[in-house]
């Protein structure tokens, strides 16, 4: 199977399935957590079919929640034209605010959240074209 290290983005085809002495591994959902020689790693499987071919069209962008928290404000709407760097959504968690910004110039296709709503890590907030 093909695995990706979530911190460095490194991908590797893995043949063996052994847990070496001194290593601990644990699965939570689709993520493997591994403790090895004093370091912690997070890895996930790369679906075979999706890596190159079945990907969405290049021009669609899903903007995801960077952390679990509450939607503090929605600063855009479906159909809006936005510039790269515009704040689209504000997420708040544990007294910290984080602005989700447009990664490029474009149009907002869909807004999937409302102000005050709780979101989980990786939930899609806005889709852009």
């Amino acid at each position: 199977m093909r695995l990706r290290d979530l911190r460095t983005g490194e991908e590797r085809e893995v043949a063996g399935k052994d847990v070496a002495p001194g290593t601990m591994a644990l699965r939570a959902g689709n993520v493997a957590w591994v403790s090895h020689r004093g370091e912690t790693y997070r890895l996930s499987a790369v679906p075979r079919f999706s890596s190159r071919t079945a990907r969405r069209p290049e021009d669609t962008h899903s903007l995801e929640a960077p952390m679990p928290g509450r939607i503090l404000g929605v600063r855009t709407a479906a159909g809006a034209t936005v510039k790269k760097g515009d704040t689209l959504v504000l997420v708040e968690a544990m007294k910290m605010e984080h602005a989700v910004r447009a990664p490029k110039d474009g149009t907002v296709a869909r807004v999937l959240v409302n102000e005050g709503q709780m979101v989980g890590l990786g939930d899609v907030l806005v889709e852009m074209e």
């Binding site: 199977m1 695995l3 290290d5 911190r7 460095t8 490194e10 590797r12 893995v14 063996g16 399935k17 052994d18 847990v19 070496a20 002495p21 001194g22 290593t23 601990m24 591994a25 644990l26 699965r27 939570a28 689709n30 493997a32 957590w33 591994v34 403790s35 090895h36 004093g38 370091e39 912690t40 790693y41 997070r42 890895l43 996930s44 499987a45 960077p66 952390m67 679990p68 928290g69 509450r70 968690a93 544990m94 007294k95 910290m96 984080h98 709780m118 890590l121």
Partner: protein, 496 residues
């Protein structure tokens, strides 16, 4: 006149590691202790450790840990005769202190008047100036800034920092380096201060680019005695929040220590301070120091003072609250202690807070290692509260011994299921400026730490093992035998 009052049962109005810390001190002092919890904390460690526990309400702090009526009623229902607020939440709220004493209970903390005097940063600055304590040069901004006040600000010399009077934790703070951005900085600081604290009063201080953040621990009793118990170096900060603290400071000589301690005692005396408190200063390379603010509560980083001086500050708070006199306390530390705060946050993504279920949590141990934690394996780390999981403290006869012990302890700590800053803390403590003790408040922003390495083959193989396996729990060598403690596959190396 006597203040002596026997305490028998203490309500700990907090959660997490500090609730655990206070519960321990109560038990050591022979006091019964009552914990409080929100619906998110039913499984939390502090709830399990107390003699009794009272549910406050739903997870949001406003409906649980920040509700004065709910806390007072919990204390009365369990017939507590004293309340310890910990830090954060209502610990610096004078109304809560008054509500506790009005209900006939003992407030384990400073008098409400002292909390109010230090609570407004502007009034605190004025009180300190009057008491002869050096204060950072600054200017008050009244109603929407007129050009007249701008002159006063510019006389300070740029850069300056705009701060909220009611503020804390860096909220609303803006550093201004050019005249042109001053009025916008004041306006946005006002907006943020109004939203966060309900008070739009702001003030401007001279901004020092790379000072050290030095704070002095003080203790006062009800008989007029105030002592300073050395300093803590808290210069290693990210997002204006401390991550590594130590005692003593590598920059403080015995002569400077006695000047800092004298100023801190003056500051505390000026407001009639009782109990444990902290006076924060900025220290310039020249040795000049300036009063920043006073925290009228137990500080997160209090364990480094405890380890360096071999003291129990919470036990002293309990004794002071019961009317006890301060004992003879050492004037200089006999050990060096360093603390690292383990946060559920992602250092590779701007230190964003993380949440999830802690599937495995293993704490370090060994000579000179102390762990103050509030979490256990299996516990959910909730988005509603502060993301600090634990404080790992190491002490040694020298600073280097303490630092090496701390690095080893951090490597020994295991946290799976929630992303933490453990590895980043280790790299920070192994960086040259930190090894040399040459720290200042903007060091972390400018320091280029070695990037995390890609995982070795063993890690990919171990990950493949748990990701390809069945949903049932299994451990290395005893495949699919008995289910583990988690509803997730768990494998350990070794076995046949």
């Amino acid at each position: 006149m006597t203040y002596a009052r026997r305490l028998s049962r203490v309500l700990v109005a907090n959660r997490g590691e500090i609730a655990v810390r206070v519960l321990r001190a109560c038990r050591t002092a022979g006091l019964e202790c009552v914990a409080v919890y929100s619906d998110a904390d039913r499984e939390a460690r502090h709830v399990a450790l107390a003699d009794a526990a009272v549910r406050l309400g739903p997870a949001p702090a406003q409906e649980s840990y920040l509700s004065i009526p709910l806390l007072i009623s919990a204390a009365q229902k369990t017939r507590c005769d004293a309340v310890h607020p910990g830090y954060g939440f209502l610990s610096e709220n004078a109304d809560f202190a008054r509500a506790v004493t009005d209900a006939g209970m003992v407030w384990i903390g400073p008098p409400a008047e002292a909390m109010e005097a230090m609570g407004s940063k502007i009034s605190a600055r004025e009180r300190m100036k009057a008491a002869g304590v050096p204060v950072v040069p600054g200017a008050l901004i009244g109603a929407p800034a007129a050009s007249g006040t701008f002159e006063e600000i510019l006389a300070l010399g740029l850069p300056v920092v705009v701060k909220a009077s009611a503020g804390g934790g860096g909220k609303g703070m803006r550093v201004v380096r050019e005249v042109s951005s001053l009025s916008e900085a004041i306006a946005s600081c006002r907006r943020e201060a109004l939203a966060a604290f309900g008070d739009s009063t702001v003030y401007v201080e001279k901004y020092f680019d790379s000072p050290r953040h030095i704070e002095v621990q003080i203790l006062g009793d009800m008989h007029g005695n105030v002592v300073a118990i050395g300093e803590r170096e808290c210069s290693l900060q990210r997002r204006h929040q401390k991550v590594v603290e130590e005692c003593p400071s590598p920059a403080v000589t015995p002569e400077l220590r006695s000047r800092l301690c004298r100023a801190a005692v003056e500051a505390a005396r000026a407001v009639g301070y009782v109990s444990a408190g902290t006076v924060e200063f900025l220290l310039e390379p020249s040795g000049a120091f300036w009063f920043l603010e006073m925290n009228t509560r137990l500080q997160v980083e209090h364990p480094v003072t405890e380890e360096a001086f071999s003291l129990d500050l919470v036990a002293l708070q309990l004794s002071i609250a019961a009317g006890g006199r301060l004992p003879e306390l050492p004037a200089a530390p006999s050990f060096h202690a360093i603390e690292a705060r383990v946060y559920a946050e992602d250092p590779d993504a701007g230190f964003l807070p993380q949440a999830g279920r802690l599937l495995l949590w293993v704490e370090p141990s060994g000579p000179g290692v102390r762990v103050d934690s509030g979490v256990i394996t299996g516990q959910a780390v909730d988005v509603h509260y502060d993301p600090m999981l634990a404080k790992i403290v190491a002490k040694g006869r020298t600073r280097e011994e303490a630092r090496r012990r701390l690095v080893a302890a951090l490597r020994e700590t295991v946290a799976l299921g929630v992303t933490t800053n453990l590895s980043w803390l280790g790299r920070l403590l192994e960086s040259d400026p930190v090894i040399r003790g040459e720290t200042h408040t903007s060091l972390i922003e400018t320091l280029a730490l070695p990037a995390p390495l890609a995982p070795p083959d063993e890690v990919f193989a171990a990950a493949a093992s748990v990701l390809s396996g069945p949903a049932a729990a299994a451990m290395g060598g005893t495949k699919s035998s008995s289910p583990g403690p988690f509803d997730a596959p768990f494998r350990m190396g070794g076995g046949a």
